[in-house]
Symmetry: C2
């Protein structure tokens, strides 16, 4: 009988262990894709693309047992070579090739030069060829940063004793209501795709006190803007036993501090490639919604059209104001008008036209919506009645208030938007692996 | 201007820091839900439910400044009390109450006694009252174990240099085809819900060599069995530069070894509550599909009806066989028939009726399907042609082979099934927070 015993050491080696001083003069084996070939006559530079970075390999006529003419870009190969110091090569070393083994060959030549440092092409082309263009080192570095943000979110909340949950995306009724919901037939019943895990994460506060989830959410928005997606990743948390909604903003600030530290430590190579300076998040200013409107109206000589809503242009100006006035890329805008927030938002007891809620703006773009929620059964019933909602429609959600819920609140962070602002991209599609918008369902 | 500076220390305390020897005689503050009240006359035991466990609080007439008659089960409270040693209390300490502050009150009395050690009720009732029944300590312990499994998967793969990805769930065409796909209207185009991240994770092997994703997948299965869900969590990984599909099984074995160690270290309390002995995964036997059929046919005197398929009963017997013959709860069944595997599966070069693929059975239940994939463009075109498939339907997937892919393979693990088997539950719904089946779309 044969047994599997776990992961065995491979005889090929990665960059971190292979391209080091102590290996100079030694022969190592490496695998990777042929990123590009620069033939200089007697020698040729074969750049190997590996997950961790690029490796300069030197093909020497007569010394490398292979016919260079047979080597194609985007072939997967295994090479044997001697490590040699070379200041101009990535990581400070190059590999003098002895043998090349081709593991797999492409059928066709690439339709676009992905080995260029920065892809010089339209967003449209980039997205249509996404399976290939993501192989470009700059492109893939963006999504390593995105991975780091999600790791930071989870690791930080785990330290703060949050429990990770997984809630259904097929639901009887979306939590936010409205028209931007995808509907489908579910065994002859009407179903919707979850617009947010709101009801479920609140439910789970009754179970674990503090919970979080990182998962897709779906919005049937017809807007085709630079900041909307029809499917995006929402990083949600919800916490019980809060004394005020400030605690939620503090937790988010803590997440940003932790995550930027993690990026500095573990994603330094990607930050350098993308030329990203991480913003200072030691202090994030807060401003009330109505005050923010007045401040920018005054400073930038802009008339307030609607006192109950923030237009995207106003968000941009609020971002600019706090950058100019206190050097911050972030600002918490608090106390949004009650009529602009969902029924489950807790009204400010001192003025019920406003709620104990906030948005976090990052360089003028909303990346988070959060706040304290109603926890009292009669209060939520009253609010639903005022809005003409039928409690029977969401009875399994209301159950949690009926049988007791602690004071609580939470937030949802748009992962792609946060990444977009951090990387100074102009379109949220740039920081989405395979974006979904009104016209795009493939690749 | 006001600023948020990050997370501040709270003046309330958790179990790990509060209920310790050095606090005996000291007054601490704690928050939690009133899990149950046992009134003994002069004293009463108020059991506080916190995320980390239960706390025995002692209400003493005349010493506790509160009217016990006003305290309700499932109220959220903040208490002040003196820590006192008590061997019979959970964690070895109790809290002698001085003050009780009610933070929120339930509107009604619970319809079911969730404070019982084990909920004695039907699965149907448990699920209908899920938002409340999850507050039962045994119920919630299951999903802490589930959290641990996901953490183990991610942390292990991160150590093995996999990159985490997030792929779309709204797709033009499901990767597995067939009839079990949910369809919906996407801005007047036909869309489907992803049955698996298959195409996308393969695509991302071309970018990062090794990738993983933990995310929901959707199957419109009409079967209402104890092991099917219509939405479940798939833990997927895909790895490039493999020398054979054994490497995938080795990686999965490594994941199980790592994760069971993590559970032992960080989820010991939950394992103890649920009386779980973790199975040995130091050696997992492998057996070829056709050999497995013969072995159980012989040993259990069972006729082979269909040589190309495994019936659920046969899976159970294969599980039993390897438990009896070599004491293993797990067994890899390899070399599934080609006609039973998707078009992208790589055929065995020595016998193309079979594939370089496997399932992992855990106590007779399939919890994983994996294998090596075709990486050559002409080979995959040929296989599609043989099956009457149209390459144009999935051209953006085929693009990756056209322009070069390394040899690769991977797997998908059903999280809820793995949890179900680990916890010895009879129904996969027991280990799904809010299960979706043919009749259930709520809560």
């Amino acid at each position: 009988m044969e047994f599997i015993k776990g992961v065995r050491e491979k005889e090929t080696i990665g960059i971190a262990k292979g391209l080091v001083g102590e290996n100079v003069g030694k022969t190592i084996r490496m695998e990777g894709s042929v990123h590009t070939i620069r033939d200089m006559g007697d020698v040729a530079f074969v750049i190997l693309r590996k997950s961790e970075g690029l490796v300069q390999c030197v093909f020497e006529e007569g010394k490398t047992a292979f016919d260079l003419a047979l080597l194609k870009e985007e072939s997967a190969i295994r090479v044997t070579g001697v490590v040699s110091e070379e200041g101009r090569a990535p990581h400070g070393f190059e590999l003098r090739l002895r043998e090349i083994e081709v593991l797999s060959q492409p059928a066709e030549v690439l339709p676009i030069a992905i080995s260029k440092w920065k892809l010089n092409t339209s967003l449209e082309t980039k997205l249509s060829l996404r399976p290939i263009t993501l192989r470009n080192p700059m492109e893939r570095a963006k999504f390593r940063i995105q991975e780091g943000i999600v790791r930071g979110f989870r690791d930080f909340l785990h330290l703060k004793e949050f429990t990770e949950i997984r809630t259904p995306k097929l639901v009887a009724r979306g939590a936010e209501g409205g028209s931007n919901v995808f509907k489908l037939d579910y065994f002859n019943k009407k179903a919707e795709l979850a617009q947010s895990p709101q009801f479920y994460k609140q439910t789970m506060v009754g179970v674990y006190d503090r919970v979080f989830e990182v998962a897709p959410v779906f919005r049937a928005e017809k807007h085709n803007t630079t900041r909307h997606l029809n499917e995006y990743t929402s990083m949600d948390f919800e916490m019980g036993y809060i004394d005020g909604f400030e605690e939620i903003m503090e937790m988010e600030t803590g997440f940003l501090q932790y995550t930027f530290d993690l990026l500095k430590k573990e994603y330094a190579q990607e930050l350098k490639m993308l030329k990203i300076d991480l913003p200072d998040v030691s202090n994030i200013p807060t401003v009330r919604f109505s005050e923010a409107k007045e401040l920018v109206s005054e400073k930038y000589d802009r008339k307030i059209k609607n006192p109950y809503d923030l237009e995207p242009e106003e968000e941009v100006l609020i971002g600019r104001y706090f950058k100019e006035e206190c050097g911050s890329d972030f600002v918490f805008v608090t106390h949004y008008p009650s009529k602009k927030r969902p029924f489950y938002a807790m009204d400010d007891p001192t003025d019920d036209r406003y709620t104990l809620s906030f948005d976090l703006l990052f360089r003028g773009l909303e990346i988070t919506t959060g706040g304290q929620r109603i926890h009292d059964y009669q209060t939520i019933l009253k609010k639903m009645e005022d809005r003409g909602m039928n409690p029977e429609d969401i009875s399994s959600y209301l159950m949690i208030f009926q049988y007791g819920m602690p004071p609580h609140g939470g937030l949802g962070i748009g992962l792609e938007r946060l990444t977009m602002r951090l990387l100074d991209e102009a379109n949220v599609r740039e920081t989405t692996l395979f974006p979904r918008d009104v016209t795009r369902l493939e690749p």
